[in-house]
Assembly symmetry: C2
Homo-oligomer: 335 residues x 2
């Protein structure tokens, strides 16, 4: 009978269709490196809610701003932040070019990796000296060339990969998830904006205007009819703690609805993002609990990234704490 045949065909079609839909659903796990634990569900749930046009938590696409700390949140900060590794490598390079530099005890300390000497004193004179040496007194173009050249060849010792390849795979998946729902993504880091912008596009697919970081004065001038920005050691803006919230306000003029950080330095922007926000919001703390695959620290970090008060405040404000050891099935994409 014809109707029966049609019914059969329809059933077959629906079966095939459901198979297809299932495979689509499976393919749509946008956080495959995350364990099936609470943080993954919290992130997926948040993104689904703010993106559902008919839901009570819907946020218009243009207001979907997510901010991310960089060191310790998007890639490691142990044994030291990558920008510090650059500074040390750059001092070594400069010392071979200009041997007279080595007479300076602080240059000597840098060459030996003696951070105790570099950070001695209230103003950390030694550290400020090598920062000035490697970050000022040159044009922005020259700085760009130096950083790009270093970044292209230097290796991250614990992994033996390039520094760019040391980024955390789970966080890249969060980027993809957010982008699939039209989020704007900004990096808000204590690292230098000028430094990060040399690789943010290649490593994170983030354009320079979405990279907020520490900065210092630049002087604009025409040098032989060439527009030039000369980098200065003055006017230092440390993009950390409340400085992060202030910079988000001043530079982006818009309140984030999601914030990912890993240290007390991110607490202010976690507060700005999540407390009394008329929109549904999400705060996430990456807790470095995995000494085997990465580094284990909070109260006493190897270099930077102290996490005490933000962790204490997390339950009060509903911040999601990611236990790297248990909540990330994979840490690095290249390992």
């Amino acid at each position: 009978m014809k109707p029966k045949k049609e019914q059969l065909l329809m059933t077959l079609r629906m079966f095939l269709c459901s198979l297809m839909l299932m495979s689509v659903t499976q393919a749509e796990d946008l956080l495959p490196s995350w364990a099936e634990t609470a943080p993954k569900q919290a992130i997926l749930d948040f993104v689904a809610r703010v993106s559902e046009p008919n839901g009570k938590d819907f946020v218009p696409e243009q207001d979907r701003l997510a901010v991310f700390d960089n060191d310790g949140t998007l890639w490691p900060e142990c044994p030291m932040p990558f920008q510090i590794a650059y500074v040390i490598d750059e001092v070594k390079r400069l010392a071979t070019e200009q041997p007279e530099l080595v007479k300076d005890p602080m240059i000597k300390a840098a060459l030996k990796g003696d951070f105790k000497a570099l950070f001695a004193g209230e103003k950390h004179d030694g550290f400020m000296k090598i920062m000035a040496l490697t970050h000022s007194g040159m044009s922005s173009d020259e700085f760009s060339r130096r950083v790009k050249s270093w970044f292209a060849t230097a290796k991250y010792p614990p992994l033996g990969t390039s520094y760019g390849e040391a980024k955390y795979q789970p966080m890249q998946e969060v980027f993809d998830l957010l982008r699939s729902e039209g989020f704007k993504i900004a990096i808000v880091s204590g690292g230098g904006a000028d430094f990060m912008r040399q690789f943010s596009q290649d490593v994170y697919d983030i354009e320079p205007e979405w990279v907020l970081g520490s900065s210092a004065d630049v002087v604009f001038e025409l040098q032989n009819n060439k527009p030039t920005f000369m980098k200065q050691a003055t006017g230092l803006y440390i993009n950390d703690k409340v400085g992060k919230s202030v910079r988000i306000y001043q530079q982006l003029g818009r309140r984030p609805i999601a914030c990912f950080g890993n240290s007390d330095g991110d607490q202010s922007m976690l507060e700005y993002t999540t407390i009394d926000n008329p929109y549904k919001s999400l705060g996430v703390i990456i807790h470095h609990t995995d000494g085997q695959r990465e580094c284990q620290y909070d109260v006493k970090p190897p270099f930077s990234g102290k996490l005490i008060t933000a962790l204490e405040e997390a339950p009060k404000w509903g911040w999601v704490v990611v236990d790297m050891k248990n909540d990330w099935e994979k840490v690095f994409s290249k390992k």
Copy 2:
């Protein structure tokens, strides 16, 4: 014969097709308020060249950044910049609320519109006083409420329209043209970023992160568990002259390929955009030549917008000078 009939049909089709293409071409005049003079052709030619994937002047979409001055470029700055009109109106409003304010001679001067008194002295103490009164000592939310309330009701005296409706129609068409080719558009103004962000979305369809302007310190704090930015009178950054180039570099981290301005205050960003740029670039100066429809000034502006050196340098660097009287068929959309 069949082949002949097919040939005929093909000819008919091609004819209809060319008619359709013609109408599309005509409908695609994206600068209808511009006279058929050199500036319109220069702008159209530039946009076409940088957007043509096979052309020698092609610029990848993500690098297509255009920067615009605001006052005198996107809307009038005569008889005074709109932000100054806000300051005067706001002083009047505050003086009725707090009559003791009127004892101050500088408040008195503001109420009388005595700009000579306000700008007396090297540091323009009077003007700085009323700026501080109207732009600091309050939260960013309170400032936002005040500006939005003023902007919704105040009228621009020469036109009798709202201030937003006083924008230049030809420049809106430039926005549309650039957007149709994926340009990023930033406002880089001497006006306050906080001030402009209250209306940039509604008036210009420009999101807050693309509004660069003057700024002052803000202090972030939790007030009764409410994240609050308190606006300060300290740390003033005047986004003018070289300050504009510096802010573009610091905030956007990317060199513009097009720049529109109208005064010597824009000369630095015109230079940064057009001189020795590896990409094809465009510099445009809006010259206020139309005393009948708008205001006529350059060397002696009614308030701000002095144009002397940038006009002198224009031929040397190939900057396009727009003669408002002759090159704009329409000035305001609402008139």
